[in-house]
């Protein structure tokens, strides 16, 4: 038994583990695959989308700036073609055209100036007094002298704040001039400033030396700008998208695009955290869902198999109890049949003995033995044979009536009769164990439809247990039957002994199958469990109260149908009426 129990435990443990592993594999593999693929695809798509969006933005703005510069350069080149030093005074020419430009483009053009081959601005129209200013050493002048037109980098120059110059070479009447115009830095700067993405996305222009050509709200150190640049940026005409890391370890996104008209770069910079904030939020959400899923799967994987195995084991136990019950009732039926056979076999010889004794008594009447000294003794012996014969008959009849009821056929049963029968059956054993069985069987208890043998099995079991418990010292068992005051339409059979009582630890388990405190081989641990099953099948319930040292009380409630009471009530009434008449 012990071995099979440990075997069963091991089997259930393996079963639990198998189900657990199965749940884990079946749940985790598709979840990991699905989540992995989804997150990967989403990352890819989202990164591509962000890249395309930023690239497009940068490209558009680069084009805008290119267009702006082309247009302004075109304006100045057009003016340059119009200029003829013979026909009009340079001052008037400048004055007239700056007015026209301002009218057309607003504040974009700050001033106009004509510089001769020596770098002297001989004519100027604008807000400053730069007439006769000497630009011979200015970088733009040197560079502009070699080319038909030139757009300078942004510089502070004579006026002390950033600006840049568009210069166009004019050859008029054999002399070279340069028509220059200063472009309002503010108007130009706003073209770049408008690019704002997220919290950290900024755009700026730098020249070929890596010098900032626009103003930014964020203070950018020259070293940082330099670190962002690499030679490829200037060579390639396309938009370049790169992820880089600065000296502080901040990762950022760097998008560069080269301008066509001038050797400048449009640079867009955004922290990676900022650029991919939404992506990372989504990733975080996915991770949270994944972790939640994992926890859910784990909790299910750990609890479900245990519950399933618990159910299986309880079902196994139940079926085992059922099997045992079938075996037990089979045994009882066999004992019943055996008893019936034995009773028949015994009744015949006992009948012969009794009759023979009676025959001797008959013969005594014919013989005159009154004088014989043993006559009284003969009479006594014969009457003793008669008495003992009757006793045998009683015993065999009890056995037979028990045997008759070892089937589970449902009948209308009077509880009191069933109790009386069992008490008389166990009386001998009780006497042998110094146990007195007292009964208090109340009248008026209705008939109930149950299998009498099953109820008797329950009562017999409880009496046997009580006798076993009081084995050493003897005691009293009180059996009471009555109609329940608490439960409607229920009758109660209570059975109280004054034995040693049941310890509290055992009390919760006494109805559990295979629980026994008896020595190995003495009890199966199934008796009370079977009783419990039988009472439950009858729709009733059984409970137990016990106190160490004072005894144990079992109570059995069995439901009855109201109609039966009514019938018996009517019967008793009609009987009374009958008596009266």
């Amino acid at each position: 038994m012990e071995q099979s129990l440990t075997d069963r435990k091991a089997f259930y443990q393996i079963l639990t583990r198998k189900i657990m592993v199965l749940i884990l594999v079946v749940s985790f593999s598709p979840m990991i695959l699905t989540t992995g693929i989804l997150v990967y695809r989403f990352n890819l798509t989202y990164t591509e989308k962000i890249q395309a969006h930023i690239s497009e933005l940068v490209q558009k703005h680069t084009q805008n700036i290119d267009t702006f510069l082309s247009e302004k350069l075109g304006n100045i080149r057009y003016l340059a073609r119009q200029f003829d030093s013979k026909q009009q005074s340079p001052k008037i020419f400048l004055q007239k055209n700056l007015g026209l430009l301002k009218k057309e483009y607003g504040d974009v053009f700050t001033d106009l100036g004509l510089v001769n081959g020596n770098g002297i601005q001989f004519a100027y129209e604008g807000p400053f007094k730069f007439e006769n200013a000497d630009y011979s050493d200015a970088e733009w002048f040197i560079k502009a002298s070699d080319k038909p037109f030139y757009i300078s980098d942004v510089f502070a120059g004579l006026r002390g704040h950033p600006h840049f110059i568009i210069a166009v070479k004019i050859t008029s009447n054999g002399s070279d001039y340069i028509l220059r115009s200063t472009i309002n830095f503010g108007a130009f700067n706003s073209l770049v400033e408008n690019i704002h993405i997220g919290k950290t996305g900024i755009a700026f222009l730098i020249n070929s030396k890596g010098k900032l050509q626009t103003q930014t709200n964020v203070g950018l150190k020259q070293s940082i700008i330099a670190s962002m640049m690499d030679s490829d940026c200037y060579k390639n005409n396309e938009t370049i998208f790169a992820k880089k890391q600065d000296a502080l370890g901040n990762k950022y996104l760097c998008v560069t695009s080269r301008l066509k008209n001038i050797d400048w770069l449009m640079v867009f910079r955004q922290d990676l955290n900022d650029a991919f904030r939404d992506l990372w939020k989504t990733q975080l959400l996915a991770l949270a869902i994944f972790i939640f899923g994992c926890i859910a799967i784990l909790s299910v994987a750990f609890t479900l198999p245990r519950n399933i195995v618990k159910l299986i084991s309880s079902a196994d136990k139940k079926s085992e109890v059922m099997n045992k019950q079938v075996v037990e009732s089979g045994k009882l039926a066999t004992i019943g049949e055996l008893a019936a056979g034995i009773a028949h076999e015994i009744n015949n010889p006992v009948a012969i003995m009794v009759e023979e004794a009676g025959w001797i008594e008959d013969l005594f009447e014919e013989e005159d033995l009154t004088g014989s000294e043993n006559f009284d003794e003969f009479k006594r012996a014969l009457s003793q044979i008669n008495t003992q014969g009757k006793r045998c008959k009683e015993i065999t009849h009890k056995l037979l009536s028990f045997a008759r009821k070892t089937d589970s056929t449902v009948n209308d049963v009077q509880i009191n009769d069933a109790v009386k029968e069992i008490v008389s059956l166990t009386a001998q054993m009780a006497r042998y164990n110094n146990v007195i069985i007292e009964t208090n069987l109340n009248e008026g208890i209705p008939y109930i439809r149950i299998a009498p043998s099953e109820l008797q099995q329950v009562i017999l079991n409880l009496i046997n247990n009580a006798i076993d418990a009081m084995e050493k010292s003897g005691g009293t068992i009180k059996i009471e039957t009555k109609i329940s005051q608490i439960e409607k339409n229920h009758l109660v059979i209570s059975m109280e002994d004054n034995g040693p009582g049941i310890p509290k630890n055992n009390l919760d388990r006494i109805f559990d199958p295979f629980f026994t405190t008896k020595a190995v081989g003495k009890g199966t641990g199934l008796g009370l469990s079977i009783c419990y099953g039988i009472i439950q099948k009858m729709g009733g319930k059984i409970d137990v109260h016990s106190q160490i040292g004072s005894g144990t009380k079992f109570r059995i409630w069995i439901p009855f149908q109201e109609e039966i009471i009514e019938v018996t009530d009517n019967d008793s009434e009609s009987e009374i009426q009958g008596e009266k008449t």
């Binding site: 019936a340 009773a343 009744n347 015949n348 009676g358 009849h397 037979l400 008759r404």
Partner: protein
């Protein structure tokens, strides 16, 4: 007065049981009490005896080796339906005895039984049979 006269009449009883020892002593004791008892040690024998002789009452064991008591009863009821049959059984199966009653047995007793009880039952059966036959004559 009539009753007394009737009681004085010797009632003839057929005892059927395969327990020889039992019916031998029973026959002796009944004879001492003015009941003429004939013994049959098996169902077959009983039927044969019944074919040749008339009896007032039959006392029949329920379980015999050759024939079941109920079977014997069925045959007897065909042969002499007016003769009342009392079952006397050592087997506790009262169901079988009740079944016998449903096939026309007068009553049943269980072994070992008091002789007085048996005689009472025999007389009762005889009386009953008498009244019935009287009734049928009047009809």
């Amino acid at each position: 007065m009539i009753g007394n006269r009737k009681e004085e009449k010797i009632i003839s009883v057929l005892l059927v049981d395969d327990e020889k020892g039992y019916i031998n002593v029973l026959a002796n004791r009944l004879s001492k009490r003015s009941i003429n008892a004939t013994k049959a040690y098996s169902g077959g024998e009983a039927i044969q005896i019944l074919r040749k002789n008339d009896f007032d009452v039959v006392v029949l064991d329920l379980k015999m080796e050759d024939m079941d008591g109920v079977e014997v009863l069925k045959i007897m009821k065909k042969m002499a339906p007016e003769v009342p049959v009392i079952f006397l059984t050592g087997h506790g199966s009262q169901e079988a005895a009740r079944e016998g009653i449903s096939f026309g047995a007068f009553d049943y007793l269980t072994k070992p039984c008091e002789l007085s009880e048996l005689i009472e039952k025999i007389k009762e059966a005889y009386q009953c049979q008498l009244e019935e036959s009287k009734g049928s004559h009047i009809e």
